[in-house]
Amino acid sequence: MTRIGLAVAALIVAAVLADYVALLWGASGTDLASLAADSYLRHVIGFTILQATLSALLALLGAIPAARALARQSDFPGRQLILQFCALPMVMPSVAAIFGIVAIYGRSGYLAGLAAQLGSGWMPNIYGLTGILIAHVFFNLPLAIRLLLPAWGTVPAESWRLAAQLGMNSRQIFRLIELPLLRQYVPAAFAFVFILCFLSFAVVLTLGGGPRATTLEVAIYQALRMDFDLARGGALALLQTLICLLLVGVAWAVSRRLDFGRGVLNAGIRMDGAGRGAQLRDFATIALAIAFVALPIVALLFDGLRGLLVARFDAGPTARATLVTLALGLPSGIIATALGYAIAAAVDRLRRRRGAVMLIGAAGLSGIIASPMAIGAGITLGLTGRVDLFAIAPVGVIAMNALLTLPFATGVLLPAIARINQQYDRLCAGLGLSGWNRFRVVDWPLLRRSIGLACGLASAAAMGDLTAIALFGNPSLTNLTLLLYQQIAAYRLDSASGTALILLALCLGTFAAIERGVGFRGVS
């Protein structure tokens, strides 16, 4: 297993390197001087950074008070449900969520309808920076809440008691305890959200609305698919990678650690959150954040049901797209899980071997720094003229999605495998259980729940992804995300509503089926 894992990691690093060799090779024809003088390109870079900065700022500005309120009210019914709900935007198909956002904030959406009913002539314009920011906050506000919330858990109960004994009020607690705490967590959360928004594709393609609001990720796509300028696409992908590397480096440099240590007392109830006023403020803050995330989802469900039951509905294309979604998503999820398992098993075995850890770390890092579109551009550049891209399109989509969802699968499996190894390695060694026998008797029964979770997550993520299918798709290879994107882009919102609901149901249904199906009878 260890050797397989190392081989997989080496293969991924090699594939990413080959990808960049292809990019360099393909882009070598571009005139760097003309690229530097390209004012449109400068605008695109500027806009990419601007929208990512604003998106991350807004997401964190919302997430900090919401996380603080959730931390302070650490014990109320429904709190766990809210935290689970915060994971939903991350796993739901982005284009389906975008449909929900258009249904609320779009020109003919519920907000515009409400304004008209109130007699106001105000008309929202969602296309451009506004729409991009709304969508990015929708996806990243709940993510940022989940990233920040553990910060409060690192404060020992003694500190809260001390604050109560000293008579600190809410503002003093924020200034003297929470601000130093956040200073440690916010830079990393900001960097993470920034990079996600910097590389965001589906949101910008759907809601950008034209060259005025285009990001590098979309510009690469346009160079490859619209202008057929492979060299320019390659050059943009390289440029994007460079900027991304720089940003990751900066993020690394600004994060710092502050250790409160672990308290010996049981988790203390915060006394500053117990008053009526504080409770009211906290619950209002939480409700506001939840409402912002829940509204588009509710609109999607409501419009989707209406679309399926009432409106015209293209049964043929939708049914075909559903099959394509499954045919591309499932293999991708299974491959990602298998590769993730091999890597996770190797990582746990090789914790002490520097070289191996660095190789595996490089494989993981390449999934962060190399953007999906840069990977796709490398594949396109490397294969154009050598094979029929049209014919291998399904393979391209599956491979790309497997690579992109690999971090999910590895992330789920690593802690589970580490725990099993720690508990049963000695016993297995004593009994002489190893290799396939050990996998069959020990690992599979104990890990199938985690494997089911990893495979369900990876499959659902692959099925909801727009990047690979946009790059490789064609009229005979159209899945639900691509169909939905085309319907939204053509303002056929009636058809889109049904498609969006089917896509959401299919992704969540697949996730549940795999998680339950594989994890069934698994040991918790």
């Binding site: 109560a164 008579g167 600190m168 009020n169 003297l176």
Partner: protein
Amino acid sequence: MASLEIRDLRFTYEDLVMRFDLDAEAGECIGVIGPSGAGKSTLLSLIGGFERPLGGTIRVDGRDITSLPPSERPVTSLFQDFNLFPHLTVADNVGLGRNPGLKLNMADREHVALALRQVGLAGFEARLPGQLSGGERQRVALARSLIRHRPLLLLDEPYAALGPALRIEMLELTDRLRKAEGLTVLLVTHDPSEATRIAGRTAFVSEGRVVLFDRTDAVLASPLPQVRQYLGG
């Protein structure tokens, strides 16, 4: 100087029903011993105001403080660890006892310096807790309790993590400060010799009750089965 009077103070934690009665005279030091989970720390938490009792009263100098928030009680609690904020300097950690928003004037700073001198940490103002030893950190916490001028000091195994010699030194410092400031002290400990050293009287707590409250040597020599079982030998 302040007396403490606890009457029928009730609290439940999981299956344990607790019911405390205890009296301390002004300026005395009382040891609190008993097995783990008997409710010693809960008793201190109730006096400090960190837990809400189901019933009963806590009086200090005759004044009922049962429903006051922690900061308004005439009490300072010292925990075994984490009495300091790791990102604040020694001076700021002590200064918090003067003003919880750290708005400190020159007079406050002088008080901080004086309190640090009293606990033997003159000149430590600018250091961070991470640069101090365990004993020094507890001295800083003691300095803060001095600057707050609360007559009742509750110590929950404050020196349990220190070595024997250092522990004796800290106990003697605590006793000196008690006499100099007229403090009434409650000391929870697992070590009978700590109680012998500074506590005139000791309360033995078992299953949520004070089952024995007498002169320390009498408690330690008691033939009561719970006491014998706890002390061993």
